[in-house]
């Protein structure tokens, strides 16, 4: 069995979830007003929000009778860092390859 991943990458892997993050990043919204923006069912939206909460990208706050979804975007920076780390690991490999190619060129002369 695979553990279910609950991190920022899983959160943004789904286009509906990306749209939800976009929506609530402008202003906190309750579930009904979020669901009105989508063609999919309310339970489906509810499920997406549950995942976003578990991934730490949305926080639910109680205001009177209403529960509002608020965006917590600091975590998204993790995504940029992660691609940049991957890029740097390849940059290192390619820098070494540059040296190797330099040697090959010299040997040919």
């Amino acid at each position: 069995m695979h553990a279910i991943r609950r991190d920022v990458f899983q959160a943004i892997a789904d286009p509906t979830r990306r749209d939800i993050i976009n929506l609530v990043s402008a202003q906190p919204m309750n579930l009904n007003s979020i669901a009105q923006n989508f063609d999919v069912s309310r339970p489906a939206i509810s499920q997406h929000i549950k995942i976003l909460v578990e991934c730490g990208l949305i926080e639910i706050t109680q205001q009177g009778r209403e529960r509002y979804c608020e965006a917590r975007l600091a975590q998204l920076e993790e995504v940029a860092d992660w691609v940049e780390q991957y890029r740097r690991s390849w940059q290192e490999k390619h820098d070494r390859l540059d040296k190797l190619l330099g040697k090959m060129k010299n040997n040919k002369k």
Binding site: H2, R5, F9, Q10, I12, A13, D14, P15, R18, V79, W82, V83, Q85, Y86, R87, R88, S89, W90, Q91, E92, K93, H94, D95, R96, L97, D98, K99, L100, L101, G102, K103, M104, K105
Partner: protein
């Protein structure tokens, strides 16, 4: 000396593919060889603080490759292998890629490496990897963080001293 060549990564959120793009100041046949010769691959492919051993890299249709990554004291950390679908020197290699350390088998990616001739004896390499799922791609890219960046430039420095 010109400025250092930059490696770029294109990995859009929610997609199961990644592009690695790089230009080299060397002719295409040479760059192709450095990507398809076991001894040469071993010299540059590993994370900087690791030892890479290529058991084989057999660049022909139906060929295969396998390599391991070990710590400096010889402890094997990871193994990778795949099949070569096509190797057309000096322009294209298509192969599969699988990390052997995953909890289940079958999380294979397809990699296409294109080698383009540029003016001035330069070469552009584009590696396009397509994974079976977004989670597979993200997992592969993240795994590099643990081993890749540590003590980053040690091996490069050593190589520079040799020259």
């Amino acid at each position: 000396m010109s400025t250092k060549n930059q490696t770029s990564i294109i990995a859009e959120p929610g997609k199961q593919e990644v592009y690695i793009v790089r230009e080299f100041d060397a002719p295409r046949d040479m760059v192709y060889k450095a990507h398809t010769d076991a001894d040469m691959l071993a010299q540059w492919m590993g994370p900087a603080d690791r030892v890479v051993k290529f058991e084989k890299f057999d660049p022909r249709p139906g060929g295969s490759y396998r390599y391991t990554v070990s710590s400096q004291d010889g402890k094997e950390i990871a193994g990778f292998h795949g099949s070569i679908h096509e190797a057309t020197a000096p322009e294209r290699v298509i192969q599969t890629f699988e990390f052997e350390g995953l909890p289940e088998r079958g999380h294979v990616a397809m990699e296409t490496a294109l080698f383009e001739e540029l003016a001035g004896n330069r070469t552009k390499v584009t590696i396009h990897s397509v994974f079976r799922s977004v989670a597979d791609r993200d997992g592969m890219m993240q795994s590099g963080m643990e081993t890749g960046v540590n003590d980053g430039y040690e091996k490069l420095d050593a190589l520079l001293r040799q020259m």
